[in-house]
Every structure is written in C-alpha cells, then in structure tokens.
C-alpha cells in the first residue's frame, strides 16, 4: 500500500469523524470537548489526505480546467441558492393535504379561526426534553398550528434543565413538562400555561390560545390624588410603591393604569376594577358620585 492509498483511507475516516462530530455532542456524550476533539481529528485526517494526494489536484492546473472549476462552482452555488429559496418559500407558505380518511391531521375549524383572529404574535415555549415521550406528539401538533399561521405563532422548544432561568420566570416546577404560551414582551408580556403529560390535545391548546388572547383587554385603574400608594416609586428615597402588585397584575393579564377623578373625568368604560389603595384624603363629591356608579 503506497502513501497515496493510505492517505485516501485516512481521508475517508476523517470525513466520517468530522460528519459524526455533531452527533457526539448532541446525541451521545453531550461533551463539547469530545466533539471538538473528534472534529479536530477528522480535520487532521482530511489534511493527511490532501497532503498525500496533492499531486492529483495539481493536474487541474491548466487554464481551461481552472475555468471549468470556477464555472462549476458558480453554477452549483447558484442552483443551491435557488433550491434553498424554493424550499424556504414552500416551508413557510406551502400547502399540505391530509389524505387520512378521518382527517386526523387536519385542524378543527375553531382552531383555524382562533389562529386567524390572533392580533399579536404568540410565542409557544415547550418545556420538554428531547427524550420526553410526549416530545413527538407536541412537536407535530405545534407544527400544524404553525403551518396554519406562520406569521403569528413562534414555537420554541426548551429543555427545562438547560434553561433554568426561563423555567423560573414561568414558575415551572422541577420535572414539569409544560407548554407556555406568551404574547407581548417585557413588562407587557402575558402568558398562560398548558400542562403536558401524555400529550396535548388540540382542544387544550386552542382553549389556551383563546384564553391568552382575551387577557390584556381588561384594565385595572388605580386612583390618584388622595395620597394613595403610587404604582411606581416616586423617588429613590421613598421606595414604598405598588410595583410588585403591578408586575403580578401584568402577568395575570391585566393592564394597570392610573386614574385621577378630580377634574370631573368619567370612569373609563374598559375599567374592570378600580383600586383605591390607601387614600389619605377624602374623595370630592363628584368623585364619590363617579365611583358610586
């Protein structure tokens, strides 16, 4: 066996090592060092191939073959870009036909209308480990929802063990498999949860969506002007405020606001609740009348 053949065999082994390195990381050991070492070994072996077989490449060094190589690379890249574009468009806007007799892969009309009436982008966090027995089922169901409304629904799978901060944010218990639907961001974020064990039904998921989209319509007003607790701290020296309550309300899907009835304003129609938090002075007559309504 000459060096060139040996180089070819090493190169083939290197290719295998390189291609399988991501699997070492994600599927088997999960150690980035092992995967990195494997990829490095693969590159080294491939390098051995190129070093021993360099002569074969020198053969292509005429002007005509350089042109051929360049035009081939260009053609291949253009075709590849075209195919990627087509795949991207079809993956986002593509159609699919459910050919099963009982239409088990078709969403119910109610789900479709719920998805159609979503006004804001909804993000679905699925807190499931890839090894979870329900992973497949949840993945498929969410995928069908997303295909129905690609612009309105974003699906994110999280391994709860790998994302403890998010799990804590949504108050998940250890080992709990949950689907969290959220909308809005920052302080304006609302969420609702669906428990996953033994899978999620379309009904559960759609109901959760309906619940999520109905929250946030309701407002809670805090009266001001009578020495009530402020919603936000007024000065750093005086931290006494209702900011914790405000946060909780937001998470529960209420929108807190302030209301000063002193200048004869009427109570807004969207007020679900009016809170008088520790007023020091009396309400004026008109104010009292307004509240009495």
């Amino acid at each position: 066996m000459n060096t060139r053949t040996l180089g070819k065999i090493l190169g083939a082994l290197g290719l295998v090592a390189l291609l399988s390195a991501p699997y070492t990381y994600f599927v088997t050991t999960g150690s980035p060092w092992m995967a990195g070492a494997k990829a490095g070994l693969g590159l080294l072996l491939l390098g051995a191939y190129f070093a021993t077989n360099l002569g074969e490449f020198g053969q292509f060094a005429s002007r005509r073959s350089t042109f051929y190589l360049a035009s081939t690379i260009a053609t291949v890249l253009v075709v590849l870009a075209g195919l990627v574009a087509v795949n991207y468009v079809v993956a986002r806007k593509g159609k699919s036909w459910d050919l099963t007799t009982r239409k088990i892969f078709t969403l119910a009309p109610q789900t479709k209308s719920t998805l159609g009436s979503l006004r804001e982008k909804v993000r679905a966090y699925a807190f499931l480990a890839p090894s979870d027995p329900d992973y497949e089922q949840v993945d498929r169901l969410l995928q069908r929802y997303r295909e129905q409304a690609p612009d309105k629904l974003e699906v994110v799978f999280k391994d709860p063990r790998k994302a403890p901060d998010l799990a804590q944010k949504y108050q998940l218990r250890e080992g709990q498999t949950t689907l969290v639907l959220t909308r809005g961001s920052g302080d304006q974020e609302n969420h609702t949860t669906v428990s996953v064990s033994g899978g999620v039904t379309e009904q559960d998921l759609t109901n959760a969506l309906i619940k999520l989209s109905s929250v946030g319509e309701q407002k809670v007003y805090f009266t001001t002007g009578h020495g009530e607790w402020p919603l936000e701290p007024t000065s750093p020296k005086d931290p006494a405020s209702l900011s914790e309550l405000k946060k909780t309300l937001l998470q529960e899907g209420y929108v807190p606001g302030t209301l000063n009835l002193a200048d004869g304003k009427e109570i807004p129609k969207d007020a679900a609740l009016i809170v008088i938090a520790g007023a020091w002075s009396k309400f004026g007559k008109s104010e009292a009348e307004q509240l009495a309504k």
């Binding site: 070819k8 083939a12 290719l15 295998v16 291609l19 399988s20 991501p22 699997y23 994600f26 599927v27 053969q59 292509f60 005429s62 005509r64 073959s65 051929y68 190589l69 081939t72 053609t75 291949v76 075709v79 590849l80 195919l83 087509v86 795949n87 079809v90 993956a91 593509g94 159609k95 699919s96 036909w97 459910d98 050919l99 099963t100 007799t101 088990i104 892969f105 890839p130 027995p133 992973y135 974003e154 699906v155 994110v156 799978f157 391994d159 033994g198 899978g199």
Partner: protein, 267 residues
C-alpha cells in the same frame, strides 16, 4: 432522450443479469418480513389486551394499534425507509465506479451521447432497480387487506398506505441520486458504497440533532432531515414541502454528477 433510455435499459439489463439485484431483493424482503411479523404479533397482543380491559385503560401509545393502517403499515414503511438507506448504496455504487474500472466509461464518453444523457440514463436505470426492490414490499399491505378486517369498511386506509409507499419510492430515488454522485467520484465500488452510507446516515439522523438545537437551527435541521420529511408522508399527509425537499436533493445530486462527468472532458 433516446440515448438516455438506451443507457437506462442497459443498466437494468446488467442489474438483473448479476446476482446483486437478487441478493438485494432477498435482503429487503427478508428483513422487512421479519419486522412485519413482529408488528403483527404486537398488534394482536394489544388488540387482545384492549378486548379485555378496553382501550381507555391502556397506555395512550397503544392507541396506534387501533387499526391496521397506523398499527402496522405506517410503522412498517418507517422501517423499510431505514432498510432502504442500507440497501441503496449497494445499488448505486456500481453506476459509475464500475464503468470507470471496466474502461467502458471511455465508450460512453466517446459515443455521440451528451453527458446529461449519460447521467439521466444511469439514474433512470438505478431508480428502476430500487423501485423494483421497494415494489416488492407492497405485498405486505396487500396481504393485510386480503386477510385483515376492520370495523369500518376496508381493512386498510388505502390513501394513507399509498402515500406512504409513494414517499418510500421518492426516498429511494433520493438515496440513489446521492449514491450515484458518490459513485461518479471514485473507481472503487466499495469506497462508493461506504461513502454514500457515511453521507446518508448522518443526514437521515439530523432530526436527533434538531431536537436539542435552538431555533432557528431546529427548524432548519428538521427541514433538512430525511426522516422528518419522510414521516410526514408515511403518516398520510401529502406535504408540498416534503416533495420539494426530496426533489431538490435529487436535482442537486444530478447536477453534481453531471459536472463530475463533464469534468472528464476538461481536466
């Protein structure tokens, strides 16, 4: 086109005059009947349990076995998809590698045949033989429909079964396109088979990688994974994106093969 057909006919003739095709047929039928019998046994067992305890009290994953289509055929198609992955490299390896070693490549390249006709002809011949291999497995659903029964009409949902089978044919054609490209790169058939396998297997398993990746990589890996795309079809959903994906891989492999064959004339 006439040349391409002549080459395809020649390929098929050679496949069927060597023992290779028959070895592959036997392997395919042997391994898939083993799984078929196993699935049948599980199906019977679960049905028996259901009769005693009722479906409601069985674990939810047993729900698959309520009917023959989901309980047996859909799962069998998945298994055959995996067998195809192992079988296809052995069918595709000789397409170009053997011509090169036999020096018959010289005949094809000096005959008045355009390179795309050679590529297309070889591809059609190869697809013919892999479809023949996969075609044998249609006997399993036929057996079921002859001897099986169901509470609602026919024993099998033929639309689901046929779509899954169509998906398998498409998958076979995809494996073969990739294998043909690898075969055009080398003179050694064993190396061609080995490399084809080394490319197809990780590609098929991409889904496992997708599950632990973050968005958007998760979606991309899922889209690129053969098994995700194939399982959509085998479950009875005719999804445009799966068709487009498989056809893209085939087209791209054919292009690469064409450029490799054409390179002979240039370098």
């Amino acid at each position: 086109m006439r040349n391409a057909l002549a080459i395809a006919r020649k390929e098929l003739g050679i496949y069927f005059s060597t023992p290779w095709a028959y070895v592959v047929f036997t392997a395919m039928l042997g391994i898939s009947s083993f799984f078929f019998v196993n699935l049948l046994a599980t199906f019977k067992e679960v049905q028996g349990l259901a009769r005693v305890y009722g479906w409601a009290r069985l674990p939810p994953e047993y729900g698959l076995f309520k009917n023959l289509t989901d309980g047996i055929v859909v799962q069998l198609w998945d298994v055959i998809g995996v067998i195809t992955l192992f079988v296809a490299p052995f069918l595709s390896m000789r397409l170009f590698a053997e011509e090169k070693r036999n020096r018959t490549f010289e005949l094809l390249m000096t005959a008045p045949v355009r390179p795309w006709e050679i590529v297309l002809g070889k591809y059609l011949g190869g697809v013919g033989v892999i479809w023949a291999t996969l075609g044998l497995t249609i006997i399993f659903p036929i057996t079921l429909s002859l001897f099986g029964s169901s509470e609602s009409g026919t024993a099998l949902e033929w639309s689901t079964v046929a779509l899954g089978f169509g998906g398998l044919l498409l998958w076979g054609a995809t494996c073969l396109a990739v294998g043909m490209f690898v075969s055009a790169l080398t003179e050694s058939q064993m190396l061609a088979a080995f490399l084809t396998f080394a490319i197809l297997l990780p590609w098929m398993l991409l889904r496992g990688l997708a599950q632990s990746a973050e968005e958007p990589w998760r979606s991309i890996a899922n889209h690129l994974s053969f098994s995700s795309q194939l399982s959509t079809l085998s479950r009875g959903v005719l999804d445009l994106k799966a068709l487009v994906f498989f056809l893209s891989v085939i087209l791209f492999s054919l292009l690469l093969t064409h450029r490799t064959v054409e390179a002979q004339r240039w370098a």
